[in-house]
Structures are given as C-alpha cells and as structure tokens.
Amino acid sequence: MKKITLLSLLLLVNTLKAQNELLSLLGDQEVNQEVYGTFKGTKVINGQSVEMPSQSALFFIIEHRFGTINSGAYELWGLDQASMRMSFEYGVREGVVLGVARNTFQKTYETSIKTRLLRQKEGAGSRVSIATYHAAFINSMRHIDSDREDLFRSRLSYVHQVLIARKFNRAFSLQFSPTLIVRNLVSLTSMNNNYMAMGVGARYKLSNRVSLNGEYFYQFDRPYEDFENSLSLGFDIETGGHVFQLHLTNSQGMFERAFVGETRGKWSDGDIYFGFNISRVFQ
C-alpha cells in the first residue's frame, strides 16, 4: 500500500515536473519592451509631455482655466471668467505629430510639431524617452496701436523644447523640459526677445486610473520682474478614451509663451486658477 501511495505521488510529481519542463522548453520569448504610459496625457498639465498620439490617431483636447480663486463670491471664485484652448493633435506617422490650436488669450492660433527621438525600454536600451516640441503662436488681435505698423512677423512667437522623461516604476515618472521662448515683439525695450526656462514635470499614480501631477517652469533670465514662475498641481483621471485633468495653477495661459514667461499669478496671494483639460481620442 505504501508503495502504491509512493508511486502515485511520484507520478503526480512527475506530471507537474513534466509540464513545467515543457514550459521551460519555450524559454523567455522576446517581446516589445518599450515603456508605455509615462504620462497619461500629451500634456503634463500646461506643458507638453513626451506622450503623443500614435499613427493616424487624432486627439481633440479642450482646456479651460477659470478666473482666480481669490476673486471672491461675486465672480463665483473665478468660475465666471473662463479662458479656453482647443487643439487637435494628429499622428501623421509613428512618432510625428502635427497640431493646431486656438487660445482665447490674445486670440492666439498655434501650429506645432512634436517628434519622438527616443523611447525608453525595459532591460537593455534607452533609459529615457526623448521628444522635441516646436510651436509657432500667432496673435490675431485687431491692431489698435496706431504708432506701430501692423506687421505679421510682430504677431509671431515661438517655443522650442526638448522633452526628456523617464518612467522610474509603474507609479512614478519624471520629465525635464529645457525650453527656449522666442518673441518677435516685446512690449518694453528692457525685455528679452529670447529666454530660456527649465520645466520639471512629474506624475505619481495613485491607482490604475488616477494620478497626481505636478509641474514647474523655472525662468533663467526672467524677461520681466513682474512675471512669476509657473507652478501647477493636479490630478489625471482616465476613463477609456478620455483623460480628464483637473488642476490648480498660477498661470492662466495654456500655451508655452503665455505660461512659461507671462505668468502673473502668485500662489502666496491666492492668485490661483482652477482648470481642466479633457482629451478625447478618435481613431
């Protein structure tokens, strides 16, 4: 009896062993090791992230910033004043995205191109993802300054960015965004036409669908002393084809020239704007 038990035990062990051996015959198969989901949206909050629509995907993004929270009950703590940005981003091919946008602020039109240079991989391969972002901004306000000629080139400003991001683990991602802003026309002779800034963006996933985001842009040669550095905090909430981003920021502008170099709000004074971005994917 003992022998039979031993035998059947041995056979059972043998079966499991055989099946495990079969599995090990397959070895570890190579699969795509590219890191996905460094950020949930193509914007961290105000600034661009390394994420972009894939080939032939179209993102439609609506962004709102309300008035300052400290404006009181009469303005319903800012909700009466809304500034908007609408944009389309289209993946012409994998890693190349063209965008157009329209901002309420100075009735600004935007055209942009974002390209992916490098993608972070697990194991061997790149440890960071790198993308570049270039945009031209066109101020389309009616010309009212009769002392100055209405030149098209005076309405233009640009941003050039390198976006370098790393997803450290499933929850935490960090991005550095060296930024150059170029303005063809400035309002005071004491202002710089070109200036540099460094953006830092981060996200921390609280759950599979919610993450906490933060973003800061430090200006190296501040074009004008009254302007603040942009600081924003918010949440990303993802639901299938939508990403909702809710945030508090001291910048009302939603394009680089406006929020990197022309932020007027002071967090310490309560000049904080509540806002949201909603993106929808069409494919």
Binding site: L6, T15, N20, L22, R209, E238
Partner: protein, 179 residues
C-alpha cells in the same frame, strides 16, 4: 521495491521517450462581447506552445505585451490598467489531455484538455475542447473558449462596464513542429 525502481526509471527516461511538438508562433486572439459599444479585440502571434504526445501533456506561454490592438491607446490601457503586464508579464497554461492514450489523429479529433491557467497572478483550473489534427507532419491544434475577467481579478471599472464586457472570447491556433 521493484515497483519503485520502475517508477524511478520512468521518471528519468520519460523525457527521452517524449515526442514533443513545439511552436513559438502560435496565435491567440480575443474579442470582447460584440453587443458592447466598444469592441475590444487583440491578437498575439508570438505565443509559445508545446505538446508532448507521449504522455498528453501540454503547455502554453503567452507574453501579454505581445497582444496587439488596432487602437494603440487600447493596447496601452490593456497593459497598464487591465492585465498589468509590468507585474504579470506572461500568462501560462499547463495541462493534459483528459482521454489518454491519445487517439490516432488521422482524422480531426475533438479532445478535452484539463489544466491550470495562470494569468494576472490568479491560478484557475479549466477544461476546454481542443481540435487536434495532422497537417503535413505538423500538429495542428485549435480551440476557443470563454474567459471571465472577474475570475482573474481583472477589474472593469463601473464607468466603462457598459462598454467593456466581462466575458472574453479567446481563440487559439497553433501549428507545432517536432522538436
């Protein structure tokens, strides 16, 4: 004692007697309920499969990252939010044909397979039908069965539960050649 030595003998030589058939390019595709608004469909053609005809054992290994979707964002969500492929990079199935010894496969045979599916950190015993036949010296196996996401702790949030079905139809197609 003799019995034990026979068993030990079998234990050690069985791998040599084995008739193993293998592929690293089997196809697994899945489709969520077509009644749902958003059809979720994906295909993985890098699936590993081994069948040992001598004892009826079989094993499958599925790399979750190798499932490809038409919509890139769906693929990202699949990996990040549903199967969590960074934590659970592969799914495996280890099993055995129920009716042994295997019949000769001169004609197509529908056979039952019983084993353990290991996916998303959950092990579940499963039985399903497999159609097995010879195809020019290669062994062809096909199967289709339903999986419930909830059985494998794959949570579908309420907000998308009307879009994404809990029931997933899985189809497996493998052409195995002699090892």
């Amino acid at each position: 004692m003799r019995l034990l030595s026979v068993a030990l003998f079998l234990f050690t030589v069985s791998p040599i007697l084995a008739q193993k058939y293998i592929t690293r390019a089997a196809e697994v595709s899945f489709l969520s309920d077509t009644d749902a608004i958003e059809v979720v469909a994906a295909k993985n053609d890098q699936v590993g499969a081994v069948i040992d005809l001598s004892n009826g054992d079989l094993a499958f290994q599925v790399q979750m990252r190798a499932f490809h979707f038409k919509i890139a964002l769906m693929e990202e969500h699949f990996n990040e939010n549903y199967v969590e492929s960074d934590r659970f990079p592969k799914a495996t199935f280890r099993g055995r044909f129920v009716d042994l010894p295997l019949p000769n496969l001169l004609t197509e045979q529908e056979l039952s397979v019983k084993g353990v599916m290991d996916m998303h950190g959950v092990q579940k015993e499963m039985t399903f039908a497999v159609v097995l036949s010879w195809q020019d010296g290669s062994l062809q196996g096909t199967s289709s069965f339903d999986l419930r996401c909830s059985d494998f702790n794959i949570e579908i949030p309420k907000i998308v539960s009307d879009k994404i079905s809990n029931e997933i139809q899985v189809t497996v197609k493998a052409l195995l050649t002699k090892l």
